[in-house]
């Protein structure tokens, strides 16, 4: 194959890829607009359906989660609203609107039913460190430092031996920083093995095992944050902040 043909083939593939990406973006924007318009005219069910369609397509967007939360709130589905706002804050912990709405929704949910966990403990420090930044920020930070480090290493190859010291030092600093930010990502990936989740229905009974006929251990209410320890068929073993454990259906949980 001649070089000209190879270049033409690569160009065609790139054009197809870009075209497919643009077409998908267009479809996503249509669903986004449909949801917004439905919400603004008060058709919250249609709005939620449009936003949920986007969510099912693995779209990661703080705006999507935020609007989903507002729509659920208007529908009175407070558990789901809390879940959506929590997701928005996972993606963007500094989102002030999402934080405010989450606080408001929790207040309203507490007026319906409040789960007071006796002996609840704070999350361990490593979890607070790992989740201090959103995954997006962590990924960009790591990628930037990491790629800059290697860019300097490439430059270093071109330089004369006596002018390499400064570049080597810079690459080392960038490399250490990339390593630290990479550890944050690794910590978050480890946390994702036993992720946090939010109780979605107004009230859920936690059973002693993965069977609805078993005895009820305790009951929790919509919006409570739990940790999923393991999954067994369509059940999840969850742990509350005070260490209580029980089994609830996966469909009753929104994973963060």
């Amino acid at each position: 194959m001649s070089r000209r043909r190879a270049v033409a083939l690569l160009g065609l593939c790139a054009a197809l890829g870009v075209g497919a990406h643009l077409a998908r973006a267009d479809l996503l924007d249509q669903a986004w607009k449909r949801g917004n318009e439905a919400h603004l005219r008060g058709d919250y069910a249609a709005a939620a359906a449009a936003y949920e369609q986007l969510d099912r397509q693995q779209v990661v967007s703080v705006d999507l989660y935020y609007n989903l939360g507002v729509t659920y709130f208007r529908q009175g589905r407070l558990g789901k609203a809390i879940w959506a706002f929590e997701r928005a804050l996972v993606v963007s912990p500094d989102d002030e609107d999402a934080r405010f709405n989450l606080t408001q929704t929790r207040k309203l949910a507490d007026q319906r039913a409040r789960d007071k966990l006796e002996g609840a403990e704070r999350e361990p420090p490593w979890i607070r460190v790992v989740t201090y930044l959103g995954p997006s920020t962590q990924v960009w930070l790591f990628s930037g430092l990491y790629l800059a480090c290697f860019a300097l290493l490439f430059v270093r190859r071109r330089l004369a031996v006596d002018s390499r010291v400064a570049v080597t030092t810079g690459a080392a600093v960038l490399g250490v920083s990339a390593l630290l930010s990479g550890l944050l990502i690794l910590g978050r990936l480890h946390l994702d093995r036993t992720p946090f989740a939010v109780v979605l229905p107004d009230r859920v009974e936690a059973k002693e095992g993965a069977d609805s006929s078993l005895r009820t251990s305790f009951a929790v209410h919509g919006g409570l944050r739990v940790r999923v320890l393991e999954r067994e068929r369509d059940w999840a073993r969850v742990r509350l902040a005070n260490g209580l454990e029980g089994f609830v259906r996966l469909e009753d949980l929104g994973l963060l």
């Binding site: 973006a25 996503l28 924007d29 986004w32 607009k33 917004n36 919400h39 603004l40 919250y44 986007l54 693995q58 779209v59 990661v60 967007s61 703080v62 705006d63 999507l64 935020y66 609007n67 939360g69 507002v70 729509t71 709130f73 208007r74 529908q75 009175g76 589905r77 407070l78 609203a81 993606v91 963007s92 609107d97 405010f100 709405n101 408001q104 929704t105 207040k107 309203l108 007026q111 959103g134 995954p135 997006s136 920020t137 962590q138 990924v139 960009w140 990628s143 990491y146 790629l147 480090c149 290697f150 290493l153 490439f154 190859r157 990479g182 990502i185 978050r188």
Partner: protein
């Protein structure tokens, strides 16, 4: 090891038991029995295979056989010693003793594989009716595979009873239609009641012998009543039977329907009859005979409530009739501005709670009052009742003391025939904090306030939608769970390593090209020397020497690395010395180049012999330089 031992022992014991021959026995439901009271008697044959034939029922002299029902089942047990299967044949009899004293039920007999077996005789003591402990009513068993069937033969095995079936009151003679053996009976707790007062109507099935199927064909209709269905005790497979003597005859009685009826308006109303079919089937499920039954209609007169209703009695809505208690409580009596208090109002008692409204709290000074969340829990025992509650959310708007007023609920007590009022105590609330501004915005889940004030109360709400033109996607968030991130991690070091490898490869390739270049140089020199020799053979001396000069200059330029054409003789000597050539070789090379120059500028001064010698000398010079180590380390 111990578990293994236990398992082996158990298995052997089971095998021993199961390996026993046929067993044939008879048993009584109870002893003694009352005269005229029905009781059960059962004969059982258990055999491991074999052919059963020639069964003869016992001699029931002194008893009347009310019902008889054979059945057959198979039991299979599997264990370490193998699997065992037994056939169980059972004959159930329902007997009524006809005389007092000690009676004897004779032997039953049967043949299994030609061998005869017989039960023992069973003695029964018959006493006066009512002197024996009343047997617990037993749950009937249905025949599997018959939907809706109710096989009315009581089981002899004890089983848990949830609660006894209601026994109908003694029936007047008119309760049994003349000439009918089986019939439906309807019983109303009263035929004259206040509007809103409960009238309980029950329907019973009376049978003289057991049936296999019962199917209602027409449900009773009660126009003019609010109807609540009451619970009817039933077994899992059919109706619950008790025995009752009517007109000297033993009946099996089952409750069918129980309904609580509340008259809506004064007047006379007729409850239409219940109709049903009953039938018997044979051992294979084929219908032997069926019968259509129809109960009598019931007329109830609903009378109006008396005059003198207290204020607050909702006469227009039918009014509350029954007996009630009212209570009110708050989840906390000290609260901060903006934090909600839940007021719970609870009405508990007997009566048609579904239709009864609770007292309302329209407004409370200093509070925003939300619409109540109402729930009802009904109990359907003999008397309909339960609890109706309302949760009212109160949102304090300013600090201070407040009092939730006492609630009153007026009702008519039909048992006393008078009106009464249930009351609660006032509830005091303390509100702390600072007064807040307010808004009218509230989520769909939070109902709008029932009371409107002059202040604009801002309830709990969220910030509005983000209505951007296009969806802003978070690429970093998507990358986090994407394999692309792995590419970002692995790519740069791979690329760096690849570049390093390519550098090494290029260096190695460069060394090879030097060798190739020298080989090419040597080949070129040889070719030019052959050309010079050809020119010489043809007698063209000048071109021959020009070719020799060119070959020398090209070869030396390649070895020295610089062009030798523009070099002075001294520079040339220094360059050749730099290649490691000795003085003789240097001078010989310079002399050869001088010879070529001379031939170029004075062609006639060179003879053919000198030209041939020049070719030989040039070849020798090239060969000798080839043997020298060059400036790049090449050469032999």
């Amino acid at each position: 090891m111990r578990a293994l031992l236990v398992f082996a022992t158990t298995t052997l014991l089971a095998a021993t038991v199961w390996a026993q021959g046929p067993s044939f026995s008879a048993r009584l439901q109870r002893n003694p029995v009352g005269l005229g009271e029905a009781f059960s008697f059962e004969v059982t044959l258990s055999a491991e295979g074999g052919r059963m034939e020639d069964y003869r029922a016992p001699d029931f002299r002194g008893f009347r056989v009310v019902a008889e029902q054979p059945s057959q089942s198979t039991q299979i047990q599997m264990g370490g010693g193998g699997s065992f299967m037994r056939q169980i044949y059972t004959w159930h009899y329902q007997l009524v003793p006809l005389q007092k004293g000690k009676l004897t039920i004779g032997q039953a007999s049967v043949r299994v594989d030609g061998r005869a077996y017989a039960t023992d005789k069973v003695s029964v003591t018959v006493v006066d009716a009512g002197q024996t402990p009343q047997p617990r009513p037993r749950q009937p068993r249905g025949i599997p595979g018959f939907p809706g069937s109710s096989f009315f033969f009581p089981d002899l095995e004890p089983e848990p009873e949830p609660e006894p079936a209601p026994v109908p009151p003694p029936a007047p003679d008119s309760a049994r239609p003349a000439g009918r053996r089986n019939f439906l009976r309807v019983v109303a707790s009263k035929t004259r009641a206040f509007a809103g007062e409960q009238v309980t109507v029950e329907w019973f099935l009376y049978l003289t012998e057991r049936q296999n199927n019962y199917a209602p064909t027409k449900e009773p209709r009660a126009d003019g009543f609010w109807v609540e269905d009451l619970e009817v005790p039933q077994s899992q497979r059919g109706l619950s039977l008790t025995e009752q003597v009517l007109d000297g005859r033993v009946y099996l009685v089952a409750p069918l329907l129980r309904k609580a009826m509340f008259g809506l308006r004064p007047g006379k109303y007729t409850i239409t009859p219940l109709e049903a079919d009953i039938s018997r089937v044979d051992f294979f499920g084929a219908t032997l005979r069926s019968e259509h039954l129809k109960a009598e209609p019931v007329t109830v007169e609903v009378v109006p409530l008396p005059e003198g209703a207290p204020s607050g009695f909702d006469a227009a809505g039918g009014g509350a009739v029954g007996r009630f208690e009212l209570s009110a409580e708050v989840d906390r009596d000290q609260v901060q501005v903006g934090d909600a208090v839940t007021l719970k109002l609870r009405l508990e008692g007997e009566g048609n709670l579904r239709k009864i409204g609770l007292p309302t709290l329209s407004r409370l000074e200093g509070f925003k009052v939300y619409e109540p969340k109402v729930g009802v829990q009904m109990h359907r025992g003999d008397v309909v009742g339960g609890t109706k509650s309302a949760e009212i959310l109160l949102l304090p708007e300013r600090p201070g003391e407040a009092v939730v007023p006492a609630f009153a609920f007026a009702y008519f007590d039909p048992q006393k025939g008078s009106y009464a009022t249930a009351r609660t105590e006032p509830i005091r609330l303390t509100v702390t904090g600072e007064a807040r501004a307010a808004s009218s915005s509230a989520p769909a889940s939070a109902p709008l306030p029932a009371a409107s004030g002059s202040e604009n109360l801002l309830a709990i709400d969220v910030r509005p939608l983000r209505n951007r033109a296009s969806l802003r996607r978070d690429l970093g968030g998507a990358l986090y769970r994407s394999p692309v991130l792995l590419g970002v991690v692995v790519g740069p070091p791979l690329l760096l390593g690849l570049v390093g490898l390519m550098g090494i490869a290029r260096a190695r390739l460069g060394q090879e090209s030097e060798g190739t270049r020298r080989r090419k140089l040597r080949h070129s020199a040889n070719r030019r020397l052959r050309t010079a020799a050809a020119h010489l053979r043809e007698g063209r001396l000048a071109p021959s020497l020009a070719e020799i000069e060119r070959v020398l200059r090209e070869f030396l330029t390649g070895r020295i690395g610089r062009g030798v054409a523009g070099m002075s003789r001294e520079e040339l000597r220094a360059g050749l010395a730099g290649l490691g050539a000795n003085e003789a070789l240097v001078e010989g090379t310079v002399a050869a180049l001088d010879t070529c120059d001379r031939a170029r500028f004075a062609p006639g001064t060179i003879s053919a012999e000198e030209a041939g010698a020049a070719i030989d000398r040039a070849s020798e010079i090239i060969e000798r330089f080839e043997k020298l180590a060059g400036p790049r380390g090449g050469g032999a």
